[in-house]
Symmetry: C7
Subunit: 71 residues, 7 copies
């Protein structure tokens, strides 16, 4: 059994991809999270089909997140 928060723990300091409710996709290094799945990403990039936008360090609110994938 891999608890969802344990997978976040295992992904610390690694690159992850986030799908947000508004269909944005963000990629960045996970440097923190809390029990609500709020997350801190570093070197974050927002990727759309035709461009990449650099966002740097970002705090994401957990309730806007649909899914999280280690890269």
């Amino acid at each position: 059994m891999v608890m969802p928060l344990a997978l976040l723990e295992k992904s610390m300091n690694r690159k992850i991809s986030l799908l947000l409710k508004d269909n944005r996709i963000l990629e960045g290094k996970l440097t923190g999270y809390d029990d609500y799945m709020n997350m801190v990403l570093e070197d974050t990039e927002e990727r759309t089909s035709d461009q990449t936008r650099r966002l740097g360090t970002v705090v994401l609110r957990g309730n806007n997140v649909v899914s999280i994938s280690p890269l």
Copy 2:
């Protein structure tokens, strides 16, 4: 009586299909979940009518999930 979480327990390490609120359909092996129905899937694929996209390991937030079916 099969409690909803008990069906998840019974589906551990088996392939399940998830319908998300945004109408995405994901298939993957269930390797973890918690009381909020957050889930961990492995070898996840997103299936649409005309393509299959490989997502690998994914953490899904429970409140984006509409329904869960063992395959």
Copy 3:
């Protein structure tokens, strides 16, 4: 007085129809539920005006359910 959860109890192992928030209609045998009205259905079918899709066993998240009718 029929408490809402008591009607679910009375519907156990019987066929019910569910209306979901996204207007999907599901029919299946109720084999479990919890206090949040998460439900387990067996032999589930999704019915639209022009087709029937077999979904087998399904866990439904209660907060996507609008109404529940015993059949």
Copy 4:
């Protein structure tokens, strides 16, 4: 002072009309409710401008209900 739940109590075994968030209008005999305003209706009919659909007994989730009127 008429507490909202007290008005439901007073409406027991009487016909009520419900407006749902998706603009559906349901009419039926109220035979139960709980603290979350989940309700049980009997002899329920869904009324639209051009038709009436019989739904029989229905459990309604309180958080899909906009307003409740005794008839």
Copy 5:
């Protein structure tokens, strides 16, 4: 300081206007409320630019209410 619930208390048995999330406007006499701002209105009318519809007694769920004005 006028606490929001105190203004409801002060409006008891008076006519108020409610703006709902779906942009409906209801007017009626406030005869009850609870801590969740669920409300009971009597002699309720729904007003749109071109018509007035009589709804009589209505229980409103607080979480569909945007704003409340004493008239």
Copy 6:
């Protein structure tokens, strides 16, 4: 550090502007609030690009509010 509720306290009996989730903009004198950021405004006006509508005293539900600015 200015806690968000402390800024409301400091704005008591002053004019504030509220942006609501449905994009309405309201201006009025703040005469009360509670821990959920439900608010009471007096002499409230709803401003759109081409008109001003007087709403008088208004109770606003906190969860419809996006942002609050002292004027």
Copy 7:
């Protein structure tokens, strides 16, 4: 590990950028926040592709915030 609220603490009295659920982008100096990620910004500007609107001091409700970036 950088907890999400700790990053807010570290951003105090610095300029941050907020993305809201309605796609608005706000920039301002963070002068306060609470456990719900409600925030106080000063010298706030709303930036769209073709204009900048000055909003001054703003209280933001945390549940309308998608992401927060130190600038």
